[in-house]
Assembly symmetry: D2
Homo-oligomer: 303 residues x 4
């Protein structure tokens, strides 16, 4: 259905692929091939269109924050927002400053500090959070082939001092309940989860489908909760580029530092793009261009 | 069409009307009657439903920023964004700090600093900006009865030191081209424009109607520009409560300190609520509750 | 008495003179000859040693803040500190941010915001502040030849938007009592006062002499007040380089953007250096080097 | 020599003792008896005057930063300042914000972040830092009876998340070279060192004596280094109250959260006061009053 659009996009942005800079803060990411590019669209009625390296596995990194937030939102409902805000951080030199001003309550669940609080909540509420998270994503993506990458998780750990600073700081304000190392361990594992564009598009469909997982008709979130999570994604999903992204793309979405971006159009579809080279905001350069072209060419937009 | 919904909303929020605090930074506002409440819905096909004090005139204050931004966007297109950003400010103690860090480029056109830059642009580009702005709003609202309130404008001027600080500061960074007093004069006048819920709902319809003024079929903005302006409204329209508003209401909108809030649902309708008592973020308390109920009861949401 | 030391200093720093950048924010300053250098030492017993361009007149700029502060301190005593702090600002990207956080109370009287409050106080308390300020400095410096430079004052005014922002902002917080333009007018005039190294050294002697003007034995400040004003100078006199200056020089002092620096050693002497080229903190590069050498060679230090 | 002055001070401030709030962030501190008060003066010629609970042991806490800084300054000289600044932080809501803005380089060695860098330096350079630090303080204080308090050190560790955040954050910027836990362990130990007023006054004498330990005539620092360390103490020794302290007391000094404050007058004496109840800046309330009275009554001041 969208295959022609994807082909056209590919032609137009070919020269943009590889522009930017592959994430290099851990060895496991810096060897990514910047010339790779994949895209996958999936509608709530089950059709799909794919292109390029859509089957290539990459670590989902911050895209995992959508899944952990969904689990915590399921478990706690609006009580969740007592421990994390839902306002954009609007701050390129970022979370630590606001965290100090706001006494250890992170701005939103999509900056690292907020995601770490969500991870802490899962540790408190789940018996085996690592296992349950993977099972949850398997169901969402209708795929058994979802795994943690222990090498990436370990590499994140070894270079994870900034995140350790955040957890310790929030714990000093009483906003982390579990052991610092335990929180970091789950967090680095969730970042390391390997998925491809196709799996991610499948996994995001519940957000386009008013909270219902279309693969098994299970209710993941209420309709109202799904709407609200989409609103938070739109406002906060792309760090300090959130406004620019809403302006150019106009779909709720979430990016990761390995180059993936997943977005949804309510009642219609989900789309995932992947290309490892990042712009200065830490979002995939070619991925953003592809999403912008997709909404321009199809006229799809929430606005 | 929406009359029953409005009636139901009115019953449910009756006890909320008057909660909060009427703006008192200028004498001309502090005498507003906190028990007043009006609401007006207008569809792009011309139907309308109204309730309460929907014909009562109030100063539109920051809602005027949507009209001046539209004029500047018409005239300059994307070049506009060289002088003002489109990211949420995310900062309750706000614009001055970010203005300093970001060298006089305001975060977005809906915080005061950004609106003052937009006002400066209109002064540079229009022959008689005060007259042309009123004419523009008359056409949008399909009403001849739109005027500046000279008493409010004068009162704003007399207490406008914070805005004078912003203009002077941006001028010290080269981001204001005209005389400081001239910029402030137009700005305080645009804030003083008197409209009622019905007029505002009519005036916002072009944003729901893909940039076309439905009253005369004139193109105000391109379809893409209308989408983009809506995106900026959603991200930035309610100051540091923008995320909360997107979460609870889920419609692009803009609030003013006299208690008005105008919002739109693309392809469908515009809605304006008004009630003078404000919450601690400076947005109408009962107005927000009414908008939240409206989207809950109708299921209308961009998400 | 110190002539040999001055001669030695001159030889050693000859190669440093002209390094840095002459202030260019107003036309009246940017034409200064960067190769100029003067120094003047004066003891409380009346001896003096001079060197180089010590008779060349330059605008004292922020050094004037010491004189206006002294007048306000005379008039108000410790009540003064209700309207301005005495803590270092420690902030290179500076005063506006702290002013916002601290509700319009400037950190100290030596940053612009604080000096503007002091100027506002003089306007409230003096009949003819412009005339009385000049008379005060004439007495301190034991010289009739002290004047405002109307060209510099006018040039400051024309480029004074950042200072206008500060005054407006503080007025919005109620910390400016007089008309904005009146405050700016006196402030720009005090900055424009023309003096040379010899006059400034004479004028600072009361701070070395426990508050007594040694030229006429008049009590300017009590002994305790003189000590306290010296303490504020040491902590805050050289902007965000105050700590570095205390470390390297170790004498209470105040710099100006035209390249002058005046400092005192309690019970002994005052010293003024002047050279127009500034380091990145806005302090005279060669002047600071000269002061550092002076304290090293003489062993004079408060520490 | 100063006994009468101390007796007079005691009478005058009797009513102030116990005002304020004993530190309660760790159990080991919160049981301190707020009614205790001790003072000890020691001249470089060996005379001493004492009063009250001058022999009562308390944990020196942040006063230890002077000793570790001295050791690092001995070892590295001015190279030290590549890793830590010497400007006042001027920031009540403090170090984390500036640390982020300034890329992990702390403002000065007397805020926690800066002291942690100094501790890291000692770990890198000393074979057995814990032992060598205690030995160093024993020599300075001319006392064998100096020990770590393992209960306090452990208690600090258990509540040390804010400091763990700082170390992790600086390590993420490359400004910590050793293991995070090792740095924290030494830091919490140095804070736990038990001393009394008499020992501290003895130990600070080298700073009044131009770098020479008067007990054994050993050179601890060069004369220039001693001057410079005193300058940093004056600018930065009392956190965000440094300016106020310089104004009121006018002697280089350092405070600790257990209620001790040590200060020196160059070429003359050192003085230590102790009283556990703190003002809102975390400095001993009665201690500060006592120091202010001491300088007022004796006329001693560096200014």
């Amino acid at each position: 259905m969208y295959q022609k659009v994807l082909n056209d996009i590919y032609k137009e942005i070919n020269s943009q692929i590889g522009k930017g800079k592959v994430a290099d803060y851990i060895p496991a990411l810096k060897n990514a091939d910047a010339s790779q590019f994949g895209i996958s669209v999936r509608t709530i009625t089950g059709e799909q269109s794919n292109l390029g390296d859509f089957e290539h596995l990459f670590s989902i990194q911050s895209i995992s924050k959508v899944f952990t937030l969904t689990m915590a939102f399921q478990l706690l409902g609006d009580v969740l927002w007592r421990r994390v805000g839902k306002e954009p951080s609007g701050n390129p030199f970022n979370s630590l400053i606001q965290l100090e001003r706001e006494n250890g309550i992170p701005r939103n669940p999509f900056i690292n500090a907020g995601a770490l609080v969500v991870t802490d909540i899962l540790i408190s509420l789940l018996e085996n959070p690592k296992k349950e998270l993977i099972e949850f994503i398997k169901q969402l993506s209708d795929s058994e082939n979802i795994h943690y990458d222990p090498v990436i998780a370990q590499s994140e750990r070894e270079h994870g001092y900034a995140n350790a600073a955040l957890v310790n700081y929030m714990k000093s304000h009483g906003n982390i309940q579990n052991d610092v190392d335990q929180v970091l361990d789950l967090y680095f594992h969730q970042c390391s989860i390997l998925m491809n564009c196709q799996q991610l598009s499948s996994a995001f469909l519940y957000l386009a489908n008013h909270g219902i997982n279309p693969h098994n008709n299970q209710k993941i979130l209420t309709q109202s909760q799904a709407k609200r999570l989409n609103a938070v994604m739109l406002s906060c999903g792309l760090y300090d580029q959130a406004g620019d992204y809403a302006y150019l793309v106009g779909l709720p979405g979430k990016s990761g530092v390995a180059g993936g971006i997943s977005a949804i159009m309510p009642s219609q579809l989900s789309i995932t793009v992947w290309s490892p080279a990042l712009n200065r905001h830490g979002n995939s350069h070619a991925g953003l261009k592809a999403l912008e072209l997709f909404t321009t060419k199809t006229g799809i937009s929430i606005f």
